[in-house]
Assembly symmetry: D2
Homo-oligomer: 340 residues x 4
């Protein structure tokens, strides 16, 4: 079975597991006041070249919930895409802490100033929620990415309108490897972002980076209040210590994208169409329903949605553990199906 189901199916990058083993005899201070945490924070700050506040949480939904709920007042809302993770796939975690998600329907999963402007024009008095934060994902849920120019423009718009710009980086490694956006840009052109660990080689963990430091006031209280503080904080930091030292994180993104490109290029050559052109580690080819059945015998992937009565979009995801050889094998399988 060739595995393209998702990027969170194997425990962790071997270097991270080795690090765990290496540190097994240590006695660490609890609650994120340990040396691993400090080191991981240092590496990240060096990359973004800013003294941002940095915290290590466990998963993506938790991170979105803690960040958004900590920074908004009760009646304030967050603007996102219709496909945004907070809008669709968090079982109402943001509303659960009291905040409305206002969504905009964008085909490419990306927000621009015009989208937000439209929302602001519709929310003008105290009988409606007050938009206060803009949530974007990079890469988006459908594999697209923002350019540096796009992020900069969004950020400047948000500053002007007194909105916070928050970037969900669950798949940030892949996004950065597919665009001109640098760590420094993320430090300069977002108020808050998170560096996804779970989907980029960590056994768990997301690193929240708060660039607008006044928003970090008492953030540790918030982390605990929302049930997100680990007694063994160092366990959440170690993956980032490994990923951020040198450039393992970025190189995982590069490798994932490279595998995805092999798949995408190969499928195109065979004649397969795509729902969207992706530059990242998620690609969305379209197959006939009967082809899907054959594919499923040899490969593991997710059915994304019906394209029409006869065709279906599937999602293929590459991960740190995907090999080029697996990609070639997959292409062979498709070729064979297409030849019959």
């Amino acid at each position: 079975m060739i595995y393209f189901k998702n990027d969170y199916s194997s425990i962790a990058h071997p270097l991270i597991l080795e690090k765990l083993w290496e540190c097994r005899l240590e006695q660490n201070v609890g609650y994120g006041l340990d040396e691993h945490t400090f080191l991981a924070q240092k590496y990240i700050r060096e990359k973004i070249k800013k003294p941002s506040a940095i915290y290590f949480l466990v998963g993506g939904t938790q991170t979105n919930m803690v960040v958004i709920s900590s920074m908004l007042r009760p009646f304030e809302a967050v603007i996102c895409c219709k496909t945004g993770h907070i809008q669709v796939h968090e079982t109402g975690a943001i509303e659960g802490q009291g905040h409305k998600c206002i969504y905009v329907d964008k085909e490419d999963g990306k927000l621009c100033p015009k989208d937000i402007d439209d929302v602001l024009l519709e929310h003008t008095d105290c009988h409606m929620v007050k938009p206060k934060m803009v949530y974007i994902s990079n890469a988006t849920e459908i594999g697209t990415v923002y350019t540096k120019e796009e992020i900069k423009e969004l950020y400047e718009y948000c500053r002007e309108k007194n909105l916070y710009l928050y970037m969900d980086g669950a798949r940030l490694a892949s996004a950065m490897a597919a665009s001109d956006v640098t760590y420094e840009d993320l430090g300069n052109y977002t108020d808050i972002f998170y560096i996804g660990g779970t989907k980029n080689g960590g056994y768990m963990g997301e690193a929240v980076v708060i660039n607008r430091v006044e928003l970090a006031k008492d953030f540790d209280y918030c982390i605990k209040h929302f049930g997100a503080m680990l007694a063994k904080g160092f366990v959440a930091a170690i993956p980032f210590e490994v990923l951020m030292k040198d450039d393992l994180y970025y190189s995982i993104g590069k490798k994932e994208n490279n595998c995805a490109k092999i798949l995408q290029d190969g499928l195109e050559k065979i004649g397969v169409c795509f729902m969207v052109k992706s530059l990242t580690n998620q690609i969305f080819p379209i197959f006939r329903k009967e082809e899907i059945k054959k594919l499923e015998k040899e490969c593991s992937f997710e059915v994304w949605k019906e394209w029409n009565r006869d065709w279906v979009v599937i999602r293929l995801v590459t991960s740190f553990s995907t090999t080029e050889e697996e990609c070639e094998r997959f292409l062979k399988v498709v070729e064979k199906i297409y030849q019959n």
Copy 2:
């Protein structure tokens, strides 16, 4: 430096780390639908001899928050001890999801039917919250434990009054090793309990066991809603797969208690007094303030509270990694201080 500061300072029991390494090449299904999860659930069900619903969450506060908030209606409250973790040390996580903690001030940190009865008598109409759950910790925050008889009595009382009995087992290994309570008793005499992993050798993780299965309805939705679902669910289950196979969990508790007993007996022989008589892995000796200063040079521990102007209670905690040799060394340090 001899380390008695807490039981969550080293990464994990070596057998757990070995297991992680052993499984590093696997591709697992996400969100807790994997084989490790199923196996860990199976081991636990075999121990409690009940088909209870079992879920693996990350930390104690998160677990308390998810369990309590999932099971209570908005106006319902939870009864606990004044020293209860939810009352004191969760930064309002329970209130944060809307529920009042009603506390009873008990010197030994343990609740009995009479305590709850008093609370019920005071909460009689719709102008007050409605008590619906009883929260106990075993071991308690001050190291005491419940006997089987006590738990049974509490449980029967709760059933009669239509209250849920929920046991926080952050330090359950130590509690079980110090009492006559078996896994089967926990299955029979609580509605919900959790088996603490973080403080008993896991790198993280708490196993929620819902014995009254109707309370488990849609609990997976709740887990996600409160930001507590892991994409890599298997990462939270693996520690329990290791701890619950054979009897590693219980034997860790035994070992911890044994070390604590060496400390306690040794200190008593030297003439040290205690805040409370503990049978578990937390002990609470009382020292003069100037002695504390000397102790701190060679040992790491927590100052619990002022006993009076001149004396101070400290907390010593043993863990899976504590050795008898460390205990003896500590006693020597104290002896030397006392001899001067």
Copy 3:
């Protein structure tokens, strides 16, 4: 100035004010356990011919917040129209208590089984909220109404799918007077509905009617928990005692609709177009921007939205205090504008 701005601009129907004065020397029991409350409940139960649970709250947003939050579990969501009051005009009150509003974009502001079915098909696992309640407004926010057949069909669909059907009756008097829906139908074909007092002659007050009585369990606790319980409960009940005795409520709806019809018919004769054909007390004519300016000098109304660059939709609302004479005067004003 002729006043069509809204239906909540004058204090109360004279019969209600007379009743207040008449009862001024009474000593009543507090918190909704008084004779006025009992009488108002009795009148309503007689009309719906069911022993439903009935409560008197203060305003519409509060009522929606209390009803929805009391009946849903944390991860459950409510389905509504894009124009629904809870979606647009409650400053996130529903999300504020933890629940997502899932909206459907319907031109006429009305939901049908097909709409809900689409939502259910998209919400299938624990990574998404679980739809549990359907919220409809009758009359809708744009003046349309449900027929008996439509409500029955919706209700039967909801029962089949195990959803609650909740009707917001802020403008129920007008809706009933414009359709074949009777009180009995509301008792039979909704799980919960509220009878709006504020916009139908009361100085305040909405009567919540819970037909599916198991949903009323501990509803008094919920009312208090959400800050909605009045010490002087009788003050909220008295308007309903007056409105529901005989048939004042319905006759106010009739009168409002009649005035609205005079306006609508008259405007049509003059050649004015409408955004939507309304049968109730809200009508939505379309005027040129320069006409609006002239109208505003003599009449008070709300600008609803831009129709296009040159034309604008306004809203005219009739109330219990609107007179036919005012309607004729308004038509004369428009006529004069049109003649120039």
Copy 4:
């Protein structure tokens, strides 16, 4: 039946009902932007001699919920007395919006800087809630009052510790009439207070006064978000327009206290003991259980609590409608019981 059960049993002061009638033909702007609201605000600002932000809400629990939840961040807590209304009698409304109430057990129901200091010393890190607001009631729930000096001292302490001081004035008329505290003092020595209408002659209504004006930012959004905004805002303002013009409010307090004093002095002369010495409109005499039964035949009052096996504390409350004659009649009843 002589009525001393509470101060919210009759509809409203006749002058308020007259005002309602007088204004019955008006057309007012909605949502608190009307002339009655402006006038009531003006009268209050004149009394406190400060340009404070002023809002009119419906009831006490609602007011506490909106004020506290609007001003605290998620992890922040409010300090109160064990007898505080928010702690005991609001069905968890404060916790329902996410905030812990930390209570201090004071016999007289009053907080002083020392009490708060003790709480602050116990709440020192991010594992516990962060105290941010001090809630006091004046008069307290057991009829005691604060002096100007006490309030000033509390306020200065709170300023120093960066805490908000919030005064619940459900029975403020009676409190002011029993102490040296002026409106100006309330403006100077609280951050927020509310002037209770419901228990001082209004048919409903509490006037929130925010002296520290930065706390009023977007308070209108909060009011709506928590379901507390009235379409007919003028209905909540009119009672204050009447009460605050000239000095009706204060004179009601004087009258109530005078009646309570007649009762208290008279009972003392008969030989009755009291739970607490009250200067306000609530008094707490202690009777034998068998005497209670006789009293209940002719008078309506609340049984407060058991004093011991044989004796019981009752609460007598005077209101704007209590007459001296009723007090004398009550004393006669007691006298007769005592003589037998």
